[in-house]
Symmetry: C2
Subunit: 362 residues, 2 copies
């Protein structure tokens, strides 16, 4: 099959066995006589699907029992609002580490609810590093410290978590979850859109310490944004995004079958090391990110001119490598190396980089 | 293929040609080398998919140009909050017609934002009819009148819209949209979850008069719940539920190909008439809904005892008819006859009813 190497920042490549499994069962799921898409979310076959998805995610991420797993809608952007509404009272102070575009959007959304404060920012150097945070930098009354674990647009990540003392740590791990081992117990709340490593767009996973579900919320908070409601109803207060949860379950099954996240992480590190090593040795291509803060999933790189960038992107596209254009706020190029991207895709990309350096243009 | 007749209230049966089309293209969409599930929402192939979905929906529903079409997430339940936040100021009066469970939930959610008033209720007779509303019943300052166009749980529907004078009319048509012709221009806002006639769970469509997008909203309203933001960004302020929109587009294509909603409505009326005629003639099965308010998509019916109900449901299940159990708040039985349910499914159901009457139990 003529399958392209899709370097999109998300939605992005899924493991081929997952797609083939979904295709096989699409019209008639395991012989029950209907598609997963047609199943009542209250039916026995669907209940087994959502229960398996949660159980497998708990297994592969090693999620402690005192954390709830919620399957929600609206993307990480909806959580930018739900988090303050659930963890802070109106007017409370909330600390944000501003390491990029989405971190900034999260803070702006927090400002609709309370006092959203930037405890650090790497805006001045174009978000090319992750500023170090120590507990003394935080507001002692902050409802939480919010970080964007991996910055998709700028290609940076936290390799170690910030110090946060007694302030709850909230992390958007949308573009790294399941791509590397994450210590859930070191967080109070983790959230992630599914459309990178977990499955398809339209599902957002929230992993939250159960103790945080107990507080009384402001009556103005919509029922659909209340984590407690979602937790008490097994993510089925209303009809959940059934098919997206099913697809995520297939991805979790797949990761479990290949040996877990540690195995996938090793492969992801191999992919990233190959690409970074070629960029670092290149006379033409540059990666501007501080070496110690480089993301293993999103690798940004730049050519000397807009013309060369366009020529390189066209050359890659001609070789079956798509979506390598950088985000509009960052420019240049970006290769997203999520779990679904095979090592061979990165080999094809580095070959393209080398050929371009050597004057080839197709 | 061993396909069951799934009478679920939603998610529910999809037209088989739609499922087969999705299956065929699942791994490699029209030869582009990736699945729709993997496509960047900013990619050319995906842009064509979302543009087609909107254009086809506008065509088959005859949506006027001064209405925006929004593809959102969170289900109708999320709209219960978004509607007040977009159409009313905090503390404003909003009128609700309480014709069932979801109408009541919508009102309760409105009460988080303003003064939500029940202008009518059919609670006293178990929601078995639709109370008539005239413009003089409405609060002259009401931000809107909210109706639930079709009541999935109780099997009632508005065959004519209420009088509403100058008060904007907002209607939840989740369980009837695309199943019958709806005069969009007679509404100010229509919303619907997709998991009945439009496609799969995880997509909510809002059709709103563009003039209603212009007002300044309270700063506290989350960006993701602002209709103006969704409209200005072509429903892609953040990653939309891409695959659910694709599936909806396939359903819209299918309806267009068979001749439009009028053709489907005629078939739906045939299905409903067959079932109601058998229930009305039955010495055992009863439909309690006022004849003039009967839904053509959700048909409730009751047997004399819980034992007989259980026996009938088991008999139907044994014959490949699933999800006929009534909603827990209504009890009894319910057959949802959405677009995806073939006439043969209703024939099988009425045969089962007749056989049960005649003493058969399998």
């Amino acid at each position: 099959m003529n399958r392209v190497y899709n370097f999109s920042a998300g939605p992005s490549m899924l493991p081929l066995p997952v797609l083939e499994r979904a295709q096989k069962d699409l019209v008639n799921y395991q012989g029950v006589g209907s598609s997963v898409m047609e199943m009542s979310h209250r039916s026995k076959p669907y209940e087994a699907i959502i229960e398996n998805a949660e159980a497998k995610l708990r297994k592969i991420m090693n999620i402690p029992d005192d954390y709830a797993v919620l399957f929600l809608q609206g993307g990480a952007s909806m959580q930018f609002s739900a988090i303050p509404m659930n963890l802070a009272r109106q007017g409370d102070t909330m600390d944000y580490a501003v390491t990029g575009n989405f971190a900034n959007k999260a803070m702006q959304e927090g400002a609709r609810w309370g006092k959203a404060k930037a405890v650090s920012s790497s805006k001045e150097d174009g978000y090319h590093h992750i500023p170090k945070i120590t507990a003394d930098m935080l507001d002692k009354d902050a409802a939480f410290l919010h970080i964007t674990g991996n910055n998709t647009i700028f290609g940076t990540t936290y390799h170690t978590l910030p110090e946060h003392g007694d302030i709850p740590l909230v992390a958007d791990w949308s573009s790294a979850i399941l791509g590397k081992e994450i210590d859930v117990a070191a967080h109070d709340l983790i959230y992630a859109g599914a459309q990178k490593n977990m499955g398809i767009a339209g599902l957002t996973v929230v992993i939250i310490k159960k103790a945080l579900l107990e507080r009384e919320l402001d009556p103005i908070v919509p029922t659909m944004l209340r984590y407690r409601i979602a937790a008490d109803n097994g993510s089925m207060y209303n009809t959940p995004p059934c098919f997206a949860i099913y697809m995520a379950g297939l991805v979790f099954d797949y990761l479990d079958e290949i040996g877990g996240i540690a195995v996938q992480e090793k492969e992801n590190r191999r992919k990233a090391e190959l690409l970074y090593s070629v960029l670092d040795a290149s006379p033409v291509f540059k990666n501007p990110v501080a070496a110690e803060d480089r993301s293993i999933t999103n690798v940004t790189f730049f050519l000397p001119s807009a013309e060369e960038t366009t020529a390189f992107l066209a050359m890659a596209e001609g070789r079956g490598m798509t979506n390598l254009k950088g985000h509009k706020v960052a420019g240049g190029c970006r290769a997203s190396l999520y779990n679904g991207m095979p090592y061979a895709g990165v080999e094809a990309l580095v070959q393209c980089i080398r050929d371009f350096e050597n004057g080839l243009r197709k």
